[in-house]
Symmetry: C2
Subunit: 154 residues, 2 copies
């Protein structure tokens, strides 16, 4: 029988497990307390000021129920703000605070370092190839999870 440890699903979990551990270690070494999800959300809010939570979720492929808690914690840390939208009273408009902007700026080297470390076993060429194959596999499976990547609405 095929070794369980050699299945694609298992390898996916292991790589993700290492990626998260490396991210948290690098960020903590740099003196910050931010998870991968929180970083992705914060960076995406900064790039799209005033966007609502559902759009944010789509842009980074998270479930909207997860985003609620992530934003809670970003707000609680003083890095983001959640305001009622004037156009649609159901929606919340998200903004990065000055403190959030400062954090994003200072944390970038740690984030980039983490990306290098998680690929440290591969040559530059192999790293590129791994990313290409992951992108291709993900594109084909995008609609298979509850939280597919979506473009921002017009």
């Amino acid at each position: 029988m095929k070794d369980n440890n050699d299945m694609p699903g298992h390898l996916a979990r292991r790589f993700q497990q290492i990626a998260v551990a490396v991210f948290l270690a690098e960020v903590e070494d740099a003196g910050f307390d931010l998870t991968p999800v929180q970083y992705a959300a914060l960076a995406t809010i900064k790039a799209n000021p005033g966007l609502d939570q559902v759009t944010l979720a789509g842009l980074i492929a998270y479930d909207r129920t997860t985003i609620t808690g992530v934003i809670d914690r970003l707000v609680q840390k003083g890095l983001a703000e959640r305001r009622a939208s004037s156009r649609d009273r159901r929606a919340r408009e998200l903004e990065v605070t000055d403190e959030g902007r400062r954090t994003l700026r200072k944390i970038t080297p740690a984030v980039e370092s983490a990306q290098r470390i998680m690929l440290r076993g591969l040559s530059a060429k192999e790293g590129e190839e791994l990313m290409r194959l992951l992108r291709k596999a993900i594109a084909a499976g995008n609609d298979l999870s509850r939280a597919p990547l979506r473009d921002a609405p017009v």
Copy 2:
């Protein structure tokens, strides 16, 4: 600035997210209720009858605190048994029940189908290459997470 969605860490999370969704869907279609973690644990117990929880955790690279809960649920579903060890009274010896054995046998096609689906965007050759690169990256990063893969003790 580099697009956040194009970082290795993000791709890792997305691929893992899709892999889990596909696994759960295929297994549910086959009439079973088992998570990827539960499946991996059950299959590994079957292949190593009587092993303790720490060894199990090392064999599939899970944190031992996570394993406690996973075994709780396997026991509660009647698929595994947890007995006090006679050699070491701190340890628990794990066994698969007849029901667990039956489940493993019947669930295999769904698990294999899930592995194919999560790679459906890639050619056979590309799928092999993706797995090779993941294995290589994982091997280099094995010690970077709290739950590295470990061989069984002698």
